[in-house]
């Protein structure tokens, strides 16, 4: 009888490590299912917890590549209605030994996307407190988009300037040609009139040098 009791007492520590809040190798997990899914939120129950343990076991297997982790190696405690709890991963060969925090963290980071998707959640709604979400690598396109818009605008404006300058130039040339024709006509008319002393002739009439321009002194 006593030996049976002793056996029973010694078994639990051999079977599982004591999980507690703030355990040095444990992580707190927090789920916000209603925030993420709204009306389609599922209830958190034992089966969901089983799925969670399975995903963590999967993450550990993937990370270590050969060690066979099982659902029983994931110890969960301190569940709250928030849906938050603590978990510790124990070594499958030696259940009294916990896997160190850093190894668990790295394993979770590698498979974070798979874990999130299993629960239809995201990094923000399935939080591992202490494991920061991996930032998405910034998408840097070859040319910054603003340079493309800039190129379009400056190209259009330069094309417009060139077009307007050319049309001004053409217009000016055409006006000059019309002026030349008008001048030729006038000169032809002048020759017909037969006025001599062309050096004094101006289009506005004959300039009388004797009459000087006094106007500039009357301003003040």
């Amino acid at each position: 009888m006593f030996s049976l009791l002793l056996l029973l007492l010694s078994l639990p520590p051999a079977l599982a490590l004591e999980c507690s809040k703030d355990h040095q190798d444990g992580y707190q997990v927090r789920l916000s299912i209603k925030t993420a899914l709204g009306d389609q939120a599922y209830d958190w129950n034992e089966s969901e917890l089983f799925l969670f343990k399975a995903t963590i076991a999967f993450a550990m297997r993937k990370y270590t590549k050969n060690e066979t982790y099982d659902v029983s190696n994931i110890v969960v405690c301190n569940e709250t209605p928030r849906v938050s709890f603590w978990f510790i991963v124990v070594n499958p060969e030696n259940p009294t030994l916990a896997i160190t925090k850093t190894r668990v963290e790295e394993a979770v980071r590698v498979s974070r996307n798979r874990i999130n998707n299993a629960f239809l959640l995201t990094d923000k709604t399935l939080e591992f407190l202490g494991i920061p979400p991996t930032l998405a690598t910034p998408v840097t396109p070859a040319t910054p988009p603003w340079l493309i818009v800039f190129g379009v605008v400056i190209g259009a404006v330069c094309a417009g300037i060139v077009a307007l300058l050319i049309s001004s130039f053409v217009r000016g040339k055409r006006a000059n040609k019309a002026k030349e024709f008008a001048e030729e006509d006038d000169q032809a008319k002048g020759a017909d009139k037969g006025i001599s002393g062309e050096t004094f002739e101006d289009r506005n009439g004959v300039y009388n040098q004797a009459f000087s321009d006094d106007d500039r002194f009357t301003q003040l």
Binding site: R30, S32, K34, R82, L135, T137, P145, V157, S168
Partner: protein, 615 residues
């Protein structure tokens, strides 16, 4: 009579295609960025609806008379600002030169603001908008620290756009991206100026009308968003006590003055292209009233959006508190909502007050968010861009907003550059061989080079200096001399005759009373009050310094002495020509009079010394 004067001036003066172009150009010049980002701020800070009273009084007694005067004098004398004041009296020639210098200095920094608007416009085509989230730092471990300390919107403005230095003494280098935007802005203004008012007149059909369209769209959209009515109520709730503060009246007078773009010479130039027989009285009243109505309309739109932004911020604040409570007390997800937050908080406070205070919940007050006021570039590039992020379809709203700002600024630039180019043309400084387009291009290249100052790292600080010192006191002085010049040198009687010739009737008693005593008196009072206010405060400026203890609060620094000297120069250089030219003409006349007693000094062989020509 009009035709003979045209023939006397040589080549034909350009004309507006129709009256609408002229009116739209004047309205576009008057309606600028200040209507959108200065007036709503003043309205908010000076007691909402109550501010409209000093504003309207200033409009009627100061704005409209000065506007009418400028339009009338330009239309009658058919010259740019320098020519006009030379004609009225050679001693007043300096007023025109002063207008030209001020127009140039303002154009130079104003276009930099347009360059910033273009920069934001170019970036509005991305998803997500670059100012909505912090960029990741170099080793991809987290976000940039400076951005985390302040906000993504602030970081994008101060770091990624301006790359601002901690103070004005540190100059930094030219920012290539801003130089590109600046060149683009100058090119766009140039393309509208190529053929003078021929191209300007076509451009204003778009630039003057588009802002109204966008403001209406924003108003309609904002009214469908939550919190818009809070913003509007907040804006217009009058606080009558503030009317007792003289500062309110001073700011109303200066706002109406600068808002109408008086004393730049641009309005004189624009009206000089009119036919002489044009009712400029009606034009003046129309332009003045439309300008003020636009300010009011813009403030409605802006504050509807700002009300929405304040409500969004308030909701975010409350949500943050809810999450803190939910996580702290492990309450089931979404049990605490915005509605029952207060009752939950009371319950938890009764059961475990220590834990509640440990959570450090922030106090969320809608009024505090509404009180966050901003004007100028802060409103456009920080506050409004933040509001746009929360609106669904942010890219569309951002593009619309920045195109509106650009067209507002562009139509004002027309007036600024016209105030520079028209006097140069009238002074016949353009060599005959140089086509108009080339000359305009040269002036623009010069302006572009000068405005490169503002693309330096410390450019924002210099722009604030230019904004505060160039476009303020000098304009008041110029306007004062304008009114004195017309009333006393030209003569009220002669001016009334001119107006009768142009509009068909003499100006009534109200206009005469304003021109002869009310407006000059108001200008003098505003000028003196402005000086007093400036002298009382030591000039300081807010700096963006990431190493500052209280960052992201701006570190307010005083101006160093050499910068202060530049500020004084910026006021003195435009105003200087007024006494200088007057003295020069006076001395010239004295010399000429004394010179005539000497023999053979004159080139006129018919000068009879016995006959004094200076009657």
């Amino acid at each position: 009579m009009a035709d003979s004067e045209d023939a006397k001036s040589g080549d034909e003066r350009p004309k507006w295609d129709n009256k609408v172009q002229y009116l739209l150009t004047c309205i576009g010049f008057a309606v600028g960025l200040g209507n959108v980002w200065r007036f709503p701020y003043l309205c908010q800070v000076y007691g909402g609806g109550a501010f409209l009273i000093p504003y309207l009084i200033a409009l009627v007694f100061e704005g409209l008379p000065l506007l009418y005067l400028e339009l009338a004098i330009g239309q009658r004398l058919r010259l740019g600002s320098i020519g006009v004041w030379n004609s009225i009296s050679p001693y007043l020639g300096g007023v025109g030169v002063a207008s030209m210098i001020v127009s140039f200095l303002v154009a130079v920094y104003y276009n930099t603001i347009l360059a910033w608007v273009l920069w934001y416009f170019f970036h509005s085509f991305q998803n997500p908008l670059p100012w909505s989230e912090c960029p990741v730092n170099e080793d991809l471990t987290g976000y940039v620290q400076e951005c985390l300390d302040s906000t993504p919107v602030n970081y994008f403005w101060y770091r990624q756009t301006l790359n601002v230095t901690p103070n004005i003494e540190t100059n930094g280098s030219l920012q290539w991206w801003l130089v590109l935007c600046l060149i683009t802005a100058w090119c766009i203004v140039y393309i509208c100026f190529i053929r003078g008012i021929e191209t300007i007149g076509k451009a204003v059909y778009v630039t003057a009308t588009f802002p109204y369209l966008v403001l209406t769209i924003f108003l309609v959209r904002a009214l469908t968003l939550p919190g818009a009515t809070d913003g509007l109520i907040y804006l217009f709730t009058p606080d009558w006590n503030l009317l007792l503060n003289p500062r309110v009246w001073l700011d109303a007078a200066t706002q109406i003055f600068f808002s109408l773009s008086l004393a730049f010479g641009g309005l004189i130039a624009f009206s000089s292209y009119n036919p002489q027989k044009n009712n400029c009285e009606r034009d003046a009243v129309l332009v003045g009233c439309i300008n003020s109505a636009t300010s009011l309309y813009a403030s409605i739109s802006i504050f509807a959006i700002l009300g929405f932004k304040a409500t969004s911020n308030y909701n975010t604040c409350v949500q943050g508190n809810i999450i803190a409570l939910t996580n702290g007390f492990d309450v089931a997800d979404q049990n605490i909502t915005v509605d029952n937050f207060d009752s939950w908080l009371d319950n938890l406070n009764k059961t475990d007050p220590a834990k509640v205070s440990y959570l450090n919940l922030t106090e969320c007050n809608l009024q505090t968010f509404l009180d966050e006021s901003a004007s100028g570039t802060g409103l456009a590039f920080i506050v409004f861009t933040e509001a746009v992020i929360s609106m669904p379809g942010s890219q569309v709203w951002a593009v619309l907003f920045f195109v509106m700002l650009f067209s507002l600024g562009l139509s004002s630039m027309f007036g600024n550059m016209e105030g520079v180019l028209a006097p140069l043309h009238d002074l016949n400084l353009v060599p005959k061989w140089m086509p108009k387009e080339l000359f305009t291009g040269c002036i623009f290249v010069l302006s572009c080079l000068v405005s490169l100052i503002f693309t330096m790292d410390s450019g924002n600080y210099w722009l604030e200096i230019f904004n505060n010192y160039v476009g303020s006191v000098s304009l008041l002085i110029i306007a004062f001399f304008e009114i004195i010049g017309v009333v006393f040198f030209h003569g009220m009687g002669r001016f009334s005759d001119d107006i009768e010739f142009m509009t068909g009737r003499r100006p009534n008693l109200f206009w005469k009373a304003c021109w002869m005593c009310i407006s000059p008196l108001l200008l003098l009072v505003v000028f003196v009050a402005y000086i007093i206010v400036q002298v009382q405060t030591t000039p300081t400026y807010p700096t963006w310094n990431p190493d500052y203890v209280d960052f992201p609060v701006t570190d307010v620094q005083p101006y160093p002495t050499w910068v202060f000297v530049i500020c004084v120069l910026l006021v003195a250089i435009p105003v200087g020509p007024i006494p200088i030219v007057a003295l020069y003409r006076l001395i010239n006349r004295k010399l000429r009079r004394t010179g005539r007693t000497d023999t053979s000094r004159t080139s006129n062989p018919y000068a009879n010394e016995g006959f004094n020509m200076d009657t």
